[in-house]
């Protein structure tokens, strides 16, 4: 098949800060993971901001703004118009604009985290919006999630299995769930976390900062 040369007016991206996505179903612990990541990133001297995409409220943004963990001006919310997929994939322009606004408000910003509004296993991020993204699932959602092979599970740069402390209480064989996840992802990384205790959060920060060339 013959390739098609794009014109000089090909899409270009100009943001200075690295942009990452944190997606996953509602209730998997995305906001809790971000709350754990915030002090780790601050301790490592990363200049960052967070953009949330709540489905029907601004609850996640307000939770972070009121947490005392981060300057509230470094958190903003984008409405998803009943389309949590669309706002991070087919039409990420509102998120791109929110990221641009964060960079304008906070000169020297190095990292913008886009938290998705929470959806199903088919959710993925547009590479117009982010340089790298991770998908979060949790053991309480069922140990069959990796075997269902949704695009989020398969295509994310990192799959996080959260709430691992709940495994014995919900009848999940964690080792088997992690083995299934690694099997379907063809060598892409999988990380088991517990946002409640902070388990593997330092390792998560290592992976993120290595991926976006901000290791320190």
């Amino acid at each position: 098949m013959q390739s098609i040369e794009l014109s000089n007016e090909a899409p270009t991206a100009a943001p200075a800060a690295a942009r990452i996505g944190i997606g996953g179903p509602v209730g998997c612990g995305k906001t809790a993971l971000i709350e754990r990541l915030i002090p780790v990133l601050q301790r490592r001297g990363i200049n960052f901001a967070v953009v949330t995409n709540d489905l029907v409220t601004k609850e996640d943004a307000l939770r972070l703004q009121r947490s005392g963990l981060i300057d509230p001006t470094r958190v903003s919310a984008v409405e998803a118009g009943a389309c949590p997929h669309t706002v991070i994939r087919e039409d990420p322009t509102l998120n791109i604009a929110a990221g641009d606004e964060m960079e304008r408000l906070h000169p020297g910003l190095e990292l913008v985290i886009f938290e998705s509004g929470g959806d199903n296993l088919a959710s993925t991020y547009s590479l117009d919006l982010v340089d790298w993204w991770m998908f979060v699932i949790d053991v309480a959602g069922g140990d069959d999630i990796p075997r269902k092979r949704g695009p989020g599970v398969l295509r994310s740069d990192l799959l996080v299995v959260n709430k691992v402390d709940l495994a014995p209480h919900v009848g999940v064989d964690l080792d088997q769930m992690l083995a299934d996840a690694r099997s379907v992802r063809n060598g892409r990384p999988v990380l088991a976390t517990n946002a409640r205790t902070g388990q593997a959060i330092e390792e998560l920060a290592d992976i993120i900062l290595h991926a976006v060339l901000l290791e320190r």
């Binding site: 000089n8 007016e9 090909a10 899409p11 270009t12 991206a13 100009a14 489905l55 029907v56 409220t57 984008v78 409405e79 998803a80 118009g81 009943a82 389309c83 669309t86 706002v87 087919e90 039409d91 990420p92 322009t93 509102l94 791109i96 604009a97 641009d100 304008r104 117009d128």
Partner: protein, 223 residues
């Protein structure tokens, strides 16, 4: 032919412009009662087209199209739309949607778009959607009527999409309304716009609903 293709491209709801997240007061309005008939919803859409989009957005779009090369004039048209948009959720929504629309065109390096994006970032313009539609679509070669039709169709299909996502219309019902309102769109676009025409609108109930919606704890759309 290229201008016609550009018109199709720009009126496609798949073009990333943030439009999906704005209900233009409709989420608040449709939430007032449960028993909305398809006929009442169609009448509401027609009212919005005739008494807001046509008399405000379209007027501004046409003027921006005519003065696409004159940055100072564009800024003045932009300010005029700001001043005429009394309802904050709709006014702010138009600016946010304009910024999203311009973000895509600036990244695509559509003619004139990067310079307009710089002007927006420097706060030299406010970036209302119809101003940017008129200015950029002129640069894409679309004539005044094509630009008006593209914007009007996008506005109509956006309303239908909102009502569908809110569960008030079936997808096919929504397109029955779109089909039946195409003549309304044709009529409104045919109305002349003077160079000194002022934008105006009269949809007070919808604007009150938009104001109430802005105070709601639970909402899916920006406005």
């Amino acid at each position: 032919m290229q201008a016609l293709l550009h018109m199709l491209w720009q009126s496609d709801s798949a073009f990333p412009s943030g439009a999906f997240a704005f209900s233009h007061g409709l989420e608040g309005a449709l939430g007032v009662k449960e028993d909305w008939s398809i006929h009442r919803i169609a009448a509401l859409f027609a009212t919005i087209l005739r008494h807001r989009w046509s008399t405000a957005d379209r007027v501004i779009l046409v003027q921006a199209h005519r003065h696409a090369d004159d940055r100072r004039r564009l800024a003045a048209i932009d300010r005029q739309f700001e001043a005429a948009s009394l309802t904050e959720p709709l006014r702010v929504g138009s600016r946010r949607q304009g910024r999203a629309f311009l973000t895509s065109h600036a990244r695509l390096r559509s003619p004139g778009a990067p310079a307009l994006k710089e002007a927006l970032d420097r706060k030299e313009i406010l970036g209302h959607l119809p101003v940017l539609q008129g200015a950029i679509w002129r640069q894409l070669g679309m004539d005044e009527r094509q630009a008006s039709l593209a914007a009007g169709y996008a506005a109509l299909s956006s309303l239908a999409s909102v009502a569908t996502r809110l569960g008030r219309l079936g997808a096919i019902q929504a397109h029955a309304i779109v089909r039946d309102l195409l003549p309304v769109l044709d009529q409104t676009v045919a109305q002349p716009v003077g160079d000194d025409a002022m934008p105006s609108s009269f949809v007070p109930w919808l604007e009150i609903m938009a104001l109430e919606h802005a105070q709601a704890d639970l909402r899916l759309f920006v406005n």
